[in-house]
Symmetry: C2
């Protein structure tokens, strides 16, 4: 059973209860209701006795949150190490900000939908506070407050969204973000290239399958939309339709654009030609690795687009970026005119990484049980872009006076959707049955006879003081078998066995847990012998 | 200026404003008010222009919280590494729990005073939630919920208390706790000894001066109080008086016990004899390192105490613990009958570490400016004890039925007051003017001439791919001096200088930033040369 199970079960049972109540209200087929109830009772059984006692409050974590037990933590630390190592390799500093901010700092930053998902703290007298929704706005607040115009920083911390949790797909109300951002006035596309290099390094090192990084530019989106009669006031709403293209067929998006967004049939068709350019070129040319520069040139072959100066600028900028990516050996980048991340604050290049084949080829059913907590359709695992105005907005939020004094701090960044990466890694390790070590203990001090507690303690002290990671049983007279079993369960590689005969002879027995080989080591040679043995493992 | 300054200043200014308003309300001396206003305006100047603009909302962090900038983070990571290394050396696993819990999980756990300091989340529909107040209650909830009876875990995370912040002394509303706990049925005092060994290791490695770990036992406190006519219902309130002995003279505590807690003069005197035993013995015998066992025996020489079976048991248990501490080489432990940590849930040994001489001998005034953010009187830096009933209470919170089914999970732990340790370390590094590196960059790729951006990028790619930590300037044509200055400021040890001549000759210039020595390295020998140079630094 994996860690999040209790929570997942409780949420599922609640959802099943809701469904049954509404079926009853609708006077649905009695047999169907009966079936649903039976299924719910089955689920309840899985929770165990304690949970169904009468008059007892149910111990659980808050909705949409979970504990990380030792195994999940071990996976999480593996993933986080790969990410932080990459950030450090690229010379980033790190900062931390409080988990809550003044409510006015967050207000109006996440659009209508996002704003609804912010957790507010209760007004207990004093300031009005909210939990952070992302790490980007606190970063911008930090820069503006401290008048910092120049920094390369990473920040790894939890953020909070009162979203409908889908925990089986790694969507929680409390989740980690790992952000890397470069703030400062620099030359065109160099910081962007470094962000994409980091994405490429991290996803390669995680070994979770092939990935691609889609690339687009706000100017290109604006130019395409303008050519199709959608003005700047429609930018966000058209983005949100177009962005669904990787999940829905174009025909449905076309319908939405005509019926809900008011585009004409003709313009929608035209837009389809633009945003599906990569697709159509692939079909015509059977060249899956079609060059990004070629594709950017193809876009410029459309007359309506070629005459748009802003779009042209976007195309030129992406060509520079694509060239820098080649210099950096980043081959995962694909210009994709349908990538339309709708966040208000982006002002230039945008990108999004996906792992389309993560967990493909792993037959989830062969495992004999429903794989709860596994990501089935894994979407974006990293995303970001350029946002040149967010910090300036903080420094001079309003008024003509503000505009005059305005100092922009151009920024570009990348944020890893680390929960999805955890979920992929957890599934991978579970399925490949890779052993997960939850401690780093190197040596266990055991004894075969009674009354040797003090000798075990003294030996353990020596090892700790020499920097070894060591444990012993907290019992006066533990059984040898129990002690050895503990080492096998915990994957502890070495055991030192203290015995009366050995003590008299001034030796201690060293046992290799895996091979079960044993040898006597003179006490005065113990430390160097252990160091040598550990480094040879 | 250290990191927390803006926040500290803002809070000080607010407090000064409050004081001025109340002085005005009291119609105090006009000259005094004028003086206070002048002082406040001086403070305001320190905040800089931006903060006093009209009609602009003030950018700040929430009251009692602060950002950690890169330098503070570097210090924080140094301290946290020492702590986590110790936890891992002792074989601990790690877990994480959500930042908020169901309100009912926290309710009634922190006494009347503590309960008032819990941050509640706003009721936005759904569950009632509160931010965690410590890591112990979430740990107990985790064990009870998952029916875990046996674990050695650490947890490092932020907790939240709506206390009056005293940030100049390291007291914040958002702060870190580093907890190590051992849950399980084990033999007497072995896990306690390991907790004290960890305290000893961590405080030694931090090198922040001499420290002592005070030791006492709930049974001893109960026995002493009972002998002085204070029943179990008065346990907590008498504890809270006695615990002030390291900050107040006994005469004041005596007065409090008589006037507020209702003890007789005679009984109070008797209690004074007990709890000041260490002190009086020190005076008589001039033996500052007086043995703990001797002192425990002295306590038993009081007739009223010797006949109390529970106290006797406490004394016997501490003797065992003191012996184990010697085996572990822990010499910092001092039995102190006045240590009276009043937390309800302790059931056995309790302990608390203090660094009485931290920052002593450092003349804070020689630095020429007021040392904000420095801890002046540093109190407890680590504390803990045994709590055998907290988890059982969660599993069966009430009712006779609960009692029958009750399964206790005995626990013992230690919690480091890590903010105080950060503050001491930050002060130490600032005063000793130790350089703080905020990045780990090993090599900077520079160029002396124009138009070499692509060459710098390619070289940097090679280094990253080989695992080196490397940076280059994000400008097409940066000045050499600017690049070298950056390396000196950031303490980057090596620079590779790319030049046209060198490229033609197939070499690159390697510069040691400190010695300024330069040499040409053939490109095909670059990677091994860099590895060798770095490992020799």
């Amino acid at each position: 059973m994996i860690e999040a199970d209790v929570q997942v079960l409780q949420d599922e049972i609640k959802a099943m209860g809701d469904e049954i109540r509404s079926l009853k209200a609708e006077k649905a087929d009695a047999a169907l209701i009966k079936e649903k109830i039976a299924a719910m009772l089955e689920k309840k059984k899985l929770l165990g006795d304690g949970q169904t006692d009468q008059g007892k409050f149910v111990l659980k974590t808050a909705k949409g949150t979970r504990d990380y037990g030792p195994k999940s933590m071990a996976v999480r630390e593996t993933v986080l190490k790969i990410v932080t190592d990459a950030f450090k390799r690229h010379g980033a500093e790190t900062i931390d900000t409080p988990v809550f901010e003044l409510r006015e700092v967050l207000m109006g930053k996440y659009g209508e939908e996002g704003g609804k998902l912010v957790y507010d703290l209760q007004d207990q007298g004093g300031e009005l506070l909210s939990l952070r929704y992302d790490l980007t706005v606190p970063f911008a607040r930090y820069l503006a407050m401290n008048k910092i115009t120049n920094i390369k920083r990473y920040h790894i911390a939890k953020v909070y969204r009162r979203d409908q949790p889908v925990m089986t797909r790694g969507r929680y109300r409390e989740f980690y973000q790992c952000d890397f951002d470069i703030a400062g006035q620099y030359d065109l596309m160099i910081p962007e290239a470094e962000c994409l290099k980091i994405v490429d390094e991290v996803l390669s090192k995680l070994e979770i399958g092939e990935f691609i990084v889609k690339l687009n530019h706000r100017f290109i989106l604006e130019g395409m939309f303008a050519a199709c009669g959608a003005g700047s006031d429609q930018f966000k709403t058209v983005c949100s339709s177009v962005d669904k293209l990787d999940k829905q067929p174009w025909i449905e998006i076309e319908e939405e654009l005509i019926k809900e967004k008011g585009l004409t049939k003709e313009n929608t068709e035209k837009l389809g030609q633009f945003v599906r350019l990569r697709e159509s070129q692939l079909l015509i040319e059977f060249n899956p690795s079609m060059g990004n520069v070629e594709l950017l040139d193809k876009l410029m072959e459309f007359e309506e687009l070629a005459k748009n100066a802003r779009l042209k600028k976007g195309v030129e900028e992406l060509k520079v970026l694509v060239n820098y990516c080649s210099l950096f050996g980043v081959n995962s980048v694909r210009f994709d005119p349908s990538l339309a991340r709708g966040l208000d604050y982006y002002t230039g290049a945008i990108y999004e990484a996906a792992v389309p084949k993560a967990l493909e080829g792993i037959n989830l059913e062969t495992n004999g049980e429903e794989q709860k907590g596994l990501p089935v359709g894994v979407g974006s695992v990293a995303a970001g872009g350029r946002y040149d105005e967010l910090v300036g907005n903080f420094m001079a939020p309003s008024g003509a006076k503000g505009k005059e004094k305005r100092q922009d701090v151009p920024c570009v960044g990348i944020s890893f959707g680390i929960e999805r990466l955890f979920a992929i890694m957890e599934a991978k390790m579970q399925i490949e049955q890779l052993p997960v070590r939850t401690t780093e203990t190197e040596i266990f001090i055991a004894s075969a006879q009674k009354n040797l507690l003090q000798e075990r303690m003294k030996l353990c002290k020596t090892l700790w003081d020499e920097g070894f990671k060591a444990e012993f049983a907290y019992k006066a007279n533990p059984k040898l078998l129990t002690q050895l079993q503990y080492c096998e369960d915990r994957l502890i590689p070495l055991v030192l066995i203290v015995g009366e005969r050995e003590l008299q002879e001034g030796v201690v027995k060293l046992r290799n847990v895996k091979t079960r080989a044993e040898q006597d080591i003179p006490l005065n040679e113990l430390v160097p012998t252990l160091r040598a043995t550990l480094s040879s493992l």
